[in-house]
């Protein structure tokens, strides 16, 4: 019990870092995903290719390799210097962005083409069609898959401890060795992740219910 009382404040600090990184990375990741999905579906072949190469590159390599490439690889270049938190945020954002883009693309394609035809026949241009007709319907449909990916990304942030980011996992490692009570510290660590992810799913299903497709 003592271990836990001593370790807990540090873990909470780590949790703050984790949530901070997650929040920023997921928003940027989502925007990346949206842009890449639109590239993927654009009438311009070159944009399709850029998007496809990006997605394949991210999907075809381990997260940790992406992290090392950005933190160690890019940082070895003279004109780039990223601190570990920034490198971590960038990696999680880009990684999530690739997966989000596939989800968003599938969501857009799942909308009946009659919707676009109706919108275009009313004089909406393709941007207005995307914005008012297709994306709002696609997002409602995609929400469960998006939540899923967000949870995966949240878990991925624990790997940032490898490059020394003082996130929840990193604090856990420090406390585990400081207290000599690895069992309880890691148990608590797991419970904290579990609770956060549980709350995240609750939030998602609340949003889902609120915007249920009629």
């Amino acid at each position: 019990m003592d271990t836990i009382m001593n370790a807990f404040p540090y873990l909470m600090e780590g949790l703050q870092v984790t949530l901070y990184i997650f929040a920023i990375a997921i928003v940027i990741g989502f925007l990346i995903g949206l842009v890449v999905a639109l590239f993927r579906l654009a009438p311009l072949k070159i944009l399709n290719w850029i998007a496809k190469i990006f997605v394949d590159a991210i999907r075809g390599t381990p997260f940790i390799v992406q992290l090392f490439f950005i933190y160690f690889g890019l940082n070895s270049l003279d004109f780039i210097s990223l601190d570990n938190t920034t490198a971590g945020i960038v990696t999680v954002a880009i990684n999530a962005g690739a997966y989000f883009s596939e989800i968003i693309r599938a969501g857009i394609q799942s909308i009946d083409k009659g919707q676009t035809e109706a919108a275009r026949s009313l004089g909406l241009n393709s941007t207005q069609n995307m914005r008012y007709i297709i994306l709002p319907q696609a997002f409602r449909r995609m929400l469960p898959t998006i939540t899923n990916q967000a949870i995966i990304s949240l878990k991925d942030t624990s790997l940032l401890s490898v490059i020394g980011v003082a996130d929840l996992t990193q604090e856990g490692r420090i406390q585990a060795s400081a207290t000599f009570d690895a069992f309880n510290v890691y148990l608590i660590l797991g419970i904290i992740y579990f609770v956060v992810i549980y709350l995240l799913s609750m939030l998602a299903s609340f949003v889902e219910r609120k915007f249920v497709l009629r």
């Binding site: 009946d112 009659g114 919707q115 035809e117 109706a118 919108a119 275009r120 026949s121 009313l122 004089g123 909406l124 241009n125 207005q128 008012y132 007709i133 709002p136 319907q137 409602r140 497709l213 009629r214």
Partner: protein
């Protein structure tokens, strides 16, 4: 005034030549009904009139503007050409009222108040004012189609295109939708209607186009086309549907 002029229209999907050569003219306030066997290209013909399908060859003029010209602003043209689909294609995430006011507000930049006033007027006209706050999922097929008509009318189109507007409806719903269309025709709307409702074509059509094999096989006033068809294929088709 000529509202639509179709000159030597051609349309292929890859190797499939659906429209080989079609020409016709639609004058202001005319109601043109298009009939023909399934797969003969009726929908494709209609969809070329507002360029929902890219046109392979020939010309289509809407109020004198050649819409096959890539330089024209097709969105501008489409504001004048309403379209009603077999499957309604209402926007399911928007209420009936929002469905109707969307295009006037976003495309024509009308303010909300004026758009809503106009929308209520149109919903009155199709008998669905009390459904303004409902969502498409809560409506019957016939109600959905009447909303779709109101939605198209909200843009004040000069031409209305209908693609089998009653084909997806339960029989008891068909009458309500046809009534709305008849009223529209009587008010002088220029209409092109692809339909299997021969009764409607006979009653409301100024002319009927029979399409088959990529051509307009026969074009005449309904009395003549139905009563005295000139071509074998028209006769064969009519003997099956009448």
């Amino acid at each position: 005034m000529t509202m639509i002029r179709v000159e030597n229209l051609k349309k292929s999907f890859g190797n499939l030549e659906v429209i080989k050569d079609m020409s016709t003219v639609v004058e202001e306030k005319e109601v043109i009904c298009v009939i023909g066997p399934s797969g003969s290209g009726k929908s494709t013909f209609l969809r070329c009139l507002n360029r929902l399908e890219e046109i392979t060859g020939g010309h289509v003029y809407i109020e004198g503007v050649d819409i096959t010209d890539p330089k024209i602003d097709i969105n501008k043209i489409r504001q004048d050409v309403g379209m009603v689909f077999q499957q309604f294609n209402l926007f399911p995430h928007k209420s009936v009222l929002e469905n109707v006011i969307l295009a006037p507000m976003k495309v024509k930049k009308s303010d909300r108040k004026a758009s809503e006033a106009k929308a209520y007027e149109l919903l009155d006209k199709v008998g669905l004012r009390e459904k303004a706050k409902a969502y498409p999922g809560e409506l019957s097929g016939g109600q959905k189609q009447r909303v779709a008509i109101a939605r198209a009318l909200a843009m004040d189109p000069k031409i209305m295109l209908f693609d089998e507007p009653t084909s997806a409806l339960d029989p008891e719903m068909v009458g309500d939708v046809l009534d709305v269309m008849k009223q529209l025709a009587r008010e002088g709307m220029t209409m092109v209607v692809v339909t299997h409702e021969m009764g409607f074509a006979a009653e409301m059509g100024d002319r009927v186009l029979f399409i088959d094999g990529g051509y307009i096989v026969e074009e005449n006033v309904p009395k003549e086309l139905f009563g005295n068809p000139q071509h074998e294929r028209t006769k064969a088709f009519l003997s099956k549907v009448l």
